[in-house]
């Protein structure tokens, strides 16, 4: 009885010591996390209901900002444009990335060179190379149109035509970011046990059949992951349209992130900018929740 009591006091003091130690080690994390992640999101929510320009005190205006999102043509256009980017960029990365990774995986020579050349653009500064691509895409003096003319075509308005700019940003996005997706797929392919392919060979399966019935299903967790990260990424797309087209021509490539930047920091309409920010946060939250729900359902995980 006595001994038991002593033990429990010992455990208690040990527990208390652990609690103190745990929170001391977490203190920097918690302070920074609350200060620069948690508070900002709460603040974005709170500011959504106000009229605020950084100088005067925030004025409560109820749901006005939120209603405005659905009536403001510029914000609606920015969502519309972001959806267009989703439809163009997600298939480029999810599809072409897979094909590219598969081809490099199948290459029996120079694999290291291929991997490096494809991956390298992903690690350089987007802003720097986008400036260079701005020159490359320019209509009269650009490198690409020089080759277009050489092949007998006429100048393509890469940066000045409302439809063409989507092709331009698609090309840039492929060049700049395909490396990351490529790497995810390449590693996924390497992780597929050789035994599956041997079994398929023995069964006399054609390579196309093997690709669709073995590679793709076994790669489904990676495909799913790549799809979600790309969707989340495109919802936040800023650097490419800001640097290549400044959201133009007109509002042709003004994305949600650009619209937030424009309203909050150019027009100093903080409350309204916060409302759009919070909506963006909710959208990404929903996609992430779909990811958690979906990964258990329609994805093959075990290799057994």
């Amino acid at each position: 009885m006595k001994g038991q009591k002593i033990t429990s006091v010992y455990i208690k003091s040990k527990n208390r010591k652990n609690n103190v130690a745990g929170y001391l080690f977490l203190a920097p994390t918690l302070i920074l996390f609350i200060g620069f992640n948690f508070i900002p999101i709460i603040l974005a929510f709170a500011l959504s209901f106000t009229k605020y320009n950084l100088i005067t005190t925030p004025e409560f205006i109820g749901l006005e900002n939120i209603m405005r999102i659905f009536h403001d043509s510029n914000t609606l256009i920015s969502f519309h444009n972001t959806f267009k980017f989703l439809l163009i960029l997600v298939p480029i990365h999810v599809g072409l990335g897979l094909i590219l990774a598969f081809l490099v995986y199948k290459a029996k020579r120079m694999q290291f060179f291929f991997r490096t050349a494809i991956y390298f653009p992903s690690i350089v500064t987007t802003a720097s190379v986008a400036i260079a691509w701005g020159y490359i895409f320019s209509t009269d003096t650009g490198v690409i149109n020089y080759f277009v003319r050489l092949l007998g075509g006429s100048n393509i308005p890469w940066l000045t035509d409302q439809t063409m700019v989507y092709v331009t940003i698609g090309l840039f996005s492929f060049w700049k970011f395909i490396g990351t997706t490529f790497l995810y797929y390449f590693i996924g392919l390497q992780n597929i046990p050789e035994g599956y392919y041997e079994a398929a060979r023995i069964d006399g399966s054609s390579s196309l059949h093997t690709f669709f019935h073995i590679t793709i299903p076994l790669l489904s967790p990676t495909i799913f992951f790549v799809m979600i990260t790309n969707i989340v990424g495109v919802f936040q797309i800023f650097d490419e349209p800001y640097l290549l087209t400044a959201g133009g021509p007109g509002t042709a490539t003004r994305t949600v992130a650009l619209q937030i930047y424009q309203t909050a920091f150019k027009e100093m309409n903080i409350g309204y900018g916060a409302a759009i920010s919070f909506l963006l946060f909710l959208i990404i939250l929903v996609i992430t929740l779909i990811q958690y729900a979906g990964q258990n359902k329609w994805v093959v995980y075990d290799y057994e």
Binding site: A44, L47, T125
Partner: protein, 277 residues
């Protein structure tokens, strides 16, 4: 080679991939070659992909007509502070999550993981308000503070530290070592590989960041490199593109070195973030 000759499909594949890779690298060659041309010849056709002239004075000009060296220093300063703080913060948190059992651990861990899904773009406006209230707009602290912690880094370090055998710290405990001592003298040295990985990823993210400097910094002397280049390309007319491209070329040096040195670790980091879900 004889094996390859019998496989025309494989040869075709290699040729196609080779051409694609040449296209992937061509913009870099064009940037370097054009940065060495006379500014007036920046856009003279045909374009060159191998240097035809060596006007290195463009590189001198980019440093003299703009506080360019200063912006490189700024970028390095911000990135180094971000990396060091990420190492300290993520190893402390990783150690606590991996080794100490305290009240509320699981909930806090989930809470921090949930932080991974808060997009930067959605945080821009409120973060700006926080910085304005702290009087930090226009300073490097506005870039550094939010980047000092990364939920993904904490997750990586915690996963790694969970694999360190308990016997190492038990011996130290018997010698009377405290937790701080164990964290500093055992867990940090043993987690070297994950720390290198986290450092490289944090460094590149900080070095390449554009949107935060764009919002927080407006004076040329405090700008980081990507923002400085954007400002430079905006103020110089297209007749001096080769000077701007010299700046672009300089900005590519650091990521290239980081990639060459840390390739293995960077690829591992990307692979792990792909596997984490």
């Amino acid at each position: 080679m004889s094996k390859l000759r019998k496989d025309p499909l494989q040869i075709l594949l290699l040729i196609c991939l080779f051409l694609l890779c040449v296209l992937m690298l061509a913009p870099f060659l064009w940037i370097i070659s054009t940065s060495l041309r006379l500014p007036a010849d920046s856009f003279k056709l045909p374009p060159s992909f191998l240097p035809t002239s060596f006007h290195y004075e463009n590189y001198v000009k980019v440093f003299t007509s703009f506080p360019f060296a200063r912006t490189i220093f700024n970028s390095l300063k911000v990135a180094v502070i971000v990396v060091v703080s990420n190492i300290i913060v993520s190893t402390m948190a990783g150690y606590a999550f991996a080794r100490i059992s305290f009240k509320g651990k699981d909930i806090i861990f989930l809470f921090i993981l949930a932080g991974m899904m808060i997009p930067t773009q959605a945080k821009l406006v409120p973060t700006y308000i926080v910085m304005a209230k702290l009087g930090l707009v226009g300073t490097h602290a506005s870039l550094i503070l939010p980047a000092m912690i990364s939920p993904l880094n904490i997750f990586f370090v915690r996963q790694f530290m969970m694999t360190i055998p308990a016997s190492y710290e038990e011996a130290a405990y018997l010698d009377g070592a405290g937790r701080i001592c164990i964290w500093w003298q055992i867990f940090i040295p043993m987690s070297k590989s994950v720390i290198i990985m986290v450092s490289l990823l944090s460094f590149l993210a900080s070095w390449n960041d554009f949107i935060n400097p764009l919002i927080f910094l407006s004076k040329e002397e405090v700008m980081t490199l990507p923002l400085a280049l954007k400002t430079l390309s905006g103020t110089m007319n297209t007749g001096s593109a080769s000077v701007v491209l010299a700046g672009v070329a300089v900005s590519l040096v650091v990521p290239t070195i980081v990639y060459i040195v840390g390739q293995k670790h960077i690829i591992k980091g990307v692979a792990l973030s792909g596997l984490k879900s």
